[in-house]
Amino acid sequence: MDALLTALLAPLGYDFMLRALLVSSLVGAVCAVLSCFITLKGWSLMGDAISHAVLPGVVLAYLMNLPFVVGAFASGLISVSAIGFIQSRSRVKEDTVIGVVFTALFSLGLVMISRVSSDVHLSHILFGDVLGISQDELWQTVIAGAAALAAILILRRDLLLYVFDPTHARSIGLNTGFLYAALLVILALTIVSALQTVGVILVVAMLITPGATAYLLTDRFSRMMGLAVATGVLSSLLGTYASYFLDGATGACIVLTQSVLFGLAFLFAPKHGQLARRRQQRLEREAELQG
C-alpha cells in the first residue's frame, strides 16, 4: 500500500513535473475560456486552421533566433489575413478557403523543417513537449496566455453579444469589425500559448472540447465558462500526471482526458445528455398516451 502511494506521488517530486503541471493547467484554463466563444461562434475549423498555419512561423523564428511565440503569432495572423483576403475576392466558400490556406502553410512549414537543421524537433512542435519545457519557453507561454486571458476577460460581454447577435451589437453602436478582429487575434495568441503543451496538431481540441462539454451541462453562459475551465484544468492535471507513467505524449493524454469528459457529459448530462433526453421523450410519450 505504501509502495503504491510512493509510486503515485513520485512524479510530484520532480521539478520538471511540477512545472509541466503548472503550465498545462494555465494553458488548459485559457483555452477553456476561449473555447466557450469559439464553439458558440462555430469557429472550430478556424481554430484548427490557425494552429496548423503557425508552423512556418515557428521554424522561421528558430532560424532567426527569435522567440517562437513571435514567429507563431505572426504566422497565425498572416493565415487569417490570407483567408479573409481570398474569401472576399472569390466565390469559393469560407470553409474551403480555410482548408486551402492552412494546409498550404502547414505543408510549407513541413518542407522548411526538412530542409533546415535537425535541431528543430519536428515531433515537439507537432505534438508538444511540456515535460521538457525550458525556462525561456515557459515564460513565453505564460506571457502569451496571460495576455489572451486578460483580453478575453476585458472584452467578455461585448464578445458574447457579438457572437450571439452581431446585428444588435452593431445597432447599439458597438464596433463589430473590431470585435471580429479581436476574437481572431485572441485565438491566435491562445494557440501560440498552447503550442508547447499540446503541439500544433492537437491545439484545436483544447479550443473546442471544454466548451462543447460545458455547453452540454448548462444553459447559462457564465456557468458554461466555469465548467469549461474546470474540465480544462482537470484534464491538464490528469493528462500530464498520467503521461509521467506512460512516458511521454503529454498533449495526447490531456486531449484524451478531455474527450473522456466530453463523452461522459454526452451520455450523462442532466438535461442535454443522451439518457436525460431519452427519459424526457419517454415521459412525453406516456403523457400523450394517457391524456
Binding site: L40, I154, R157, L161, F164, D165, H168, S171, D219, R220
Partner: protein, 258 residues
C-alpha cells in the same frame, strides 16, 4: 425647428448583383410620432429598415437621425432596431433576462457590468411586455410570441429615442398584437418616434399618426394617416389586389376577370 427623428433623403441602394433594392426613397419622421410602413411583400420594407441602420450602404442619398449621421446616432444609443425575424441561435446559453440586458450594453462602462439602473430598466422592460415570469428561461424554451416579446423588451430596455420595428405583428396572436399597439402608443406619448412596418391595414388608423406606402422599391407617398390612406393610394400600393380593403372608404374595384 428641431431636427426630424428620421430623415431619409433620396436614398438608393443595390444588392450585390447590381439590382436596385431601393430607388430614390424619401421619408421623414417627426419626433413623438408613429409612422406605419405599408406595402406588399418584396416591395422594399425590410430593405428600407436595413438601409436606415446602415447595413446596406446607400449608392445615393443620405439618412440622418436627429440631425446626425446614423453611425453616430447608433453609438449614442439613439436607435433601437427589432428585425422581422431574429437571426440568432435559439440554443444559445442565455436567458431572457440576459438578452434584455443586452439592450443596455451600449451605455455600460468599460467592463460592461450592469448597474443598478440597468437592472431596473431591464426589470421594467420585462414587466411592460409581461415577460417577468419567463425572465430566467433559456430563450429557446419560449413560444414564438414570447420570443417576440423578449426582443421587444430588449428594444425597450435600450431606451432609444427612435424605434424601428420590422413586422412586430407577424405571427403573434391577437392579444400580443393589441399589447404591442398599446406599447407603441405609450412610447409615442413619451416622446419616442416609431417606424413600424405591418400588413394589418385595418389597425393602421388606430395607432399610426403617419403612414408611408411602399411600392416598387420606393416610398410611393407618406403623410398623416387620414390623408394618405385613401382607396386610390392603396390601390396603387397593392396594384388593385389589396387583401384588406379599407372599411371606412370605398374599396378598390375588383379587377376584371380576363
Amino acid at each position: 425647428m428641431s431636427a426630424p427623428a428620421l430623415d431619409v433623403q433620396g436614398v438608393s441602394v443595390a444588392y450585390g448583383g447590381g439590382r436596385l433594392a431601393l430607388r430614390n426613397a424619401t421619408l421623414t419622421l417627426q419626433p413623438g410620432r408613429i409612422c406605419g410602413l405599408v406595402g406588399m411583400n418584396g416591395a422594399g420594407k425590410s430593405t428600407l429598415f436595413k438601409t436606415i441602420m446602415g447595413f446596406l450602404p446607400p449608392l445615393r442619398g443620405q439618412v440622418q437621425v436627429f440631425g446626425q449621421p446614423v453611425r453616430q446616432a447608433q453609438k449614442a444609443g439613439m436607435i433601437a432596431y427589432v428585425p422581422q425575424t431574429e437571426d440568432v441561435d435559439w440554443d444559445f446559453p442565455v436567458s431572457v433576462r440576459d438578452v434584455v440586458t443586452m439592450g443596455r450594453q451600449g451605455r455600460m462602462g468599460l467592463l460592461r457590468r450592469p448597474s443598478a439602473a440597468d437592472r431596473e430598466a431591464v426589470q421594467a422592460a420585462l414587466a411592460r411586455v409581461t415577460m417577468t415570469d419567463f425572465a430566467e428561461r433559456q430563450i429557446g424554451e419560449l413560444s414564438g410570441g414570447q420570443r417576440k416579446r423578449a426582443f421587444l423588451a430588449r428594444a425597450l430596455a435600450q431606451d432609444a429615442r427612435l424605434l424601428l420595428l420590422d413586422e412586430p405583428f407577424g405571427g403573434v396572436d391577437v392579444g400580443t398584437s393589441e399589447d404591442i399597439t398599446g406599447l407603441l402608443r405609450d412610447l409615442a406619448r413619451g416622446g419616442r418616434s416609431v417606424l413600424v412596418s405591418t400588413h394589418d391595414l385595418g389597425a393602421l388608423e388606430t395607432f399610426c399618426d403617419d403612414v408611408a406606402l411602399i411600392e416598387g422599391r420606393t416610398v410611393l407617398t407618406a403623410g398623416p394617416t387620414a390623408q394618405t390612406l385613401t382607396a386610390e393610394n392603396l390601390a396603387l400600393t397593392f396594384g388593385g389586389r389589396s387583401p384588406l380593403h379599407h372599411p371606412a372608404r370605398t374599396p378598390a374595384r375588383p379587377t376584371e376577370v380576363r
